[in-house]
């Protein structure tokens, strides 16, 4: 929505949604076919309008079993015995198909998820294709992963992904699993199933053998049935730390391998010698990218005390120019909150922030009448003890804290049960390297933030999970060394 206080005026520039063709209902993708599920149907909603886009099926335990059997058959009969180079070629095909249908995926993602088309078009979909292209090349080079010669695929991977980057998280999970020679049963998030279902169509266009990729829509029960299925060899999960814990408990005592990519509460540290304008762009990118629905979001801003007022003033000025509204509008910076539940959580934690004594600031900002919306928000006067400095909000809400010395910055940054990511802003190279060394976080962005690449390992320390996605490390998570 344009706001009267905005110094910029834009005409609407909506991307056409005619490129997507959403069926009134979808089944499950099992063994290369769309089949009717035996569970109940549930709607998938456009969070920007609350319009029901379609109905999908909640896969039952029986459906999960069917999918796992199909994946097992494919692992034993087709995908496992296949020449590694041919497995790679299928993945290259998928990468190309994603590129060919990129706009369709981007529009569908924005409709189902609520993220701005600028991001789905320029980040999610190209990166998803890049992941397939990257891991495609690994398929016939597994001897060089670092696990000795002839490492073995694990078998059937059960994968459960979140709603914040639906297609991209699918790519992070499916591409390395298939390149390593596994077959997969993937459950997309309850609120964002549509691009995974379109991906199933891409698998058919690629002539991927039946059963190699199976897509089961559903909610927590479906995920639980998948994770706990006896014939699953590998579980990969991205989502909340709470669910991650229950999955780790569920696989305890089994031989299932597990990787977890969980929550975060990243510190974004700005030193007094940082280039302020660049840092402010980075702070905005760090917390408002994808409405802050990002596990590695820079949700705790640690500013050196001497530049606090300057940074906050500059940040407020910049936030005043952000455009919140129609995700399909190419000018939109901040789209819709993904669901009513998530909106309620963001509101609750923000209210707690205020109740605990932090100062809330939001720009003058008109929000659409329908759909789920939350304006970009900054809290100042935040202490490390505040809930908004400890809990993952997973929304466009930034908590600002201060520090005086580098040691204090590191201590505050590490004072969290999470350890997924962190940011450093400084012009001094030696300081950046020292601080990067001391931060207990899996990804450290220095003078940048929220950058991703298939070649670059991503994943957390501490209760942000274990295992890495991306790079050689991401592949090793789906392989077993011959000597093991």
């Amino acid at each position: 929505m344009t706001t009267s206080s905005s110094p910029f005026e834009y005409a609407p520039a909506p991307e056409s949604r005619s490129i997507v063709d959403i069926a009134p209902s979808y089944g499950l993708f099992i063994d290369g076919e769309f089949v009717d599920g035996t569970g109940d149907a549930f709607p998938s909603v456009n969070p920007a309008t609350e319009e029901v886009l379609t109905e999908v099926s909640a896969a039952s335990e029986a459906d999960v079993d069917r999918a796992v059997r199909a994946a097992r058959r494919a692992f034993e009969k087709t995908w496992g015995p296949m020449r590694a180079a041919d497995r790679g070629k299928y993945l290259f095909r998928i990468a190309r198909l994603l590129q060919e249908r990129a706009r369709e995926f981007a529009v569908l993602e924005s409709l189902d998820n609520g993220k701005p088309i600028r991001e789905s078009r320029d980040v999610d979909v190209p990166l998803a294709a890049a992941h397939f292209f990257y891991y495609a090349g690994w398929a016939d080079k597994l001897d060089h992963v670092g696990l000795g010669t002839r490492p073995r695929a694990l078998g059937v991977a059960g994968q459960v992904i979140p709603w914040n980057f639906p297609l991209l998280m699918l790519a992070w999970k499916v591409a390395p699993a298939l390149a390593a020679g596994n077959t997969v049963v993937l459950k997309p998030a309850e609120t964002t199933p549509l691009t995974a279902l379109l991906f199933a169509e891409v698998c058919r266009q690629a002539d991927l053998p039946a059963g190699v990729v199976n897509i089961l829509t559903g909610a927590g029960d479906t995920g639980r049935a998948l994770v706990e299925h006896d014939d699953v060899d590998k579980v990969a999960f991205t989502g909340s730390t709470e669910v991650g814990r229950s999955i780790a408990r569920a696989v305890a005592g089994t031989s299932k391998k597990l990787t977890l990519e969980l929550g975060g509460k990243a510190a974004n540290i700005v030193f007094d010698d940082a280039p302020i304008d660049q840092a402010v762009e980075g702070i905005v990118q760090g917390i408002f990218f994808n409405q802050g629905h990002v596990c590695c979001a820079g949700s705790r801003l640690l500013v050196q005390e001497s530049i606090h007022d300057e940074v906050v003033a500059s940040l407020q000025r910049r936030i005043g120019t952000l455009r919140v509204g129609d995700p399909l509008d190419k000018n939109t910076d901040i789209g819709a909150i993904n669901s009513a539940d998530q909106l309620a959580r963001i509101r609750e934690l923000s209210d707690i922030g205020e109740a605990e004594g932090a100062q809330r600031w939001q720009p003058a900002c008109e929000l659409p009448d329908r759909g789920f919306w939350y304006p970009p928000t900054i809290f100042t006067d935040v202490s490390s003890a505040h809930r908004i400095a400890r809990d993952e909000i997973f929304g466009p809400v930034l908590s600002v804290l201060t520090f005086r010395t580098p040691d204090e910055a590191v201590a505050k940054a590490n004072n969290t049960t999470y350890g997924l990511s962190a940011g450093i802003w400084s012009e001094k190279g030696s300081r950046i390297l020292k601080i990067a060394n001391q931060l207990r976080a899996g990804v450290v962005w220095a003078n940048t933030f929220n950058k991703f690449d298939p070649t670059s390992p991503f994943g957390g320390y501490k209760q942000s999970g274990y295992g890495r996605e991306g790079g050689r490390h991401g592949l090793a998570a789906y392989l077993e060394g011959a000597e093991q």
């Binding site: 899996g442 962005w445 950058k451 670059s456 209760q463």
Partner: protein
């Protein structure tokens, strides 16, 4: 002159926590016998409090140990091998008595244990090159990944192989820069106490390795659920409790090494398999520009 009838001075076997040798705060001991059932010693039976003290010590030592240069850490671990060599006879006697091995097989186990320290000492400054590197991202950024230690690792040491098995699970934890709280073999704890004396005189900073004699079944629970333990190796966990320990470890998303079905052949080449579970990968990005 000392005659043959001299009465030996026996050793009091104690815990090793934070570089010191305390008795268990609980005052508990238990009888340790040789493989034929003859009395050898009363070992300290570590309690929950001892385990928690050991975690505090390990956490306190983590910054210094993980912050050392890899070269320095390698030299310290090599020093452990040097000092062990000087106590070769003592280790052979203890291993032979505890495990019921012949003199030559005990010697082979001690030799292999010493050589294992040397092997891991040589790894410290090679891991970053083998497990990390520069990542060729599609953009103007320098991006590199390095392995870093997970933190405080609890180790339930093997129950059978009292020295070689112990070294095989402890050395990789230390070589990677972690600090350790080890529960030794319950029935064969004496070589572990002697190893603690070696560690105490080998430039290994106090708190880096803490060795608790006692019962893994009892102590495993406290370590598995301890919020300041980052990882746990369940190799020596009793089969009937390992699943429960793994469940408890899930409460704080600990890195877990599951126990093998049977105790492995510790003379085999371990590869990287005991180091990678307690390593994190850190990836750092920085723009490239003028």
């Amino acid at each position: 002159m000392i005659g043959n009838d001299r009465l030996a001075v026996r050793k009091t076997y104690k815990l090793y926590v934070n570089g010191a040798f305390p008795r268990s705060e609980s005052g508990r001991t238990y009888e340790v016998t040789d493989s034929k059932g003859h009395f050898l010693a009363n070992a300290a039976r570590a309690s929950r409090k001892d385990a928690r003290d050991a975690v505090v010590a390990a956490r306190g030592a983590f910054g210094k140990w993980s912050g050392m240069t890899a070269y320095n850490r390698g030299q310290v671990l090599y020093r452990v091998a040097e000092v062990m060599e000087g106590r070769h006879v003592q280790f052979c006697d203890e291993v032979a008595a505890g495990e019921g091995l012949s003199a030559s097989r005990a010697r082979a186990a001690v030799d292999a244990a010493i050589d294992r320290w040397v092997w891991y000492a040589g790894w410290t400054d090679k891991l970053a090159a083998v497990l990390g590197g520069a990542n060729p991202v599609a953009g103007p950024y320098f991006d590199f990944s390095t392995p870093e230690p997970t933190g405080v690792v609890a180790v339930l040491a093997p129950q059978q192989s009292s020295l070689l098995g112990l070294v095989s699970v402890l050395a990789p934890v230390l070589a990677t820069g972690n600090t350790a709280v080890v529960v030794t073999s319950k029935d064969r704890p004496l070589p572990a106490v002697t190893l603690a004396e070696v560690l105490a005189t080998s430039d290994v900073p106090g708190g880096v390795a803490n060795l608790l004699t006692g019962d893994a079944e009892e102590l495993g629970t406290w370590l598995a659920e301890h919020a300041d333990v980052d990882g746990i190796d369940l190799t020596g966990a009793p089969a009937n409790r390992a699943m429960e320990f793994e469940r408890e470890a899930a409460g704080t998303i600990k890195r877990v090494v599951r126990p093998p079905a049977t105790e492995p052949d510790w003379t085999a080449d371990p590869g990287l398999t005991r180091m990678t579970p307690f390593l994190e990968t850190k990836t750092v990005w920085h723009p490239i520009g003028l």
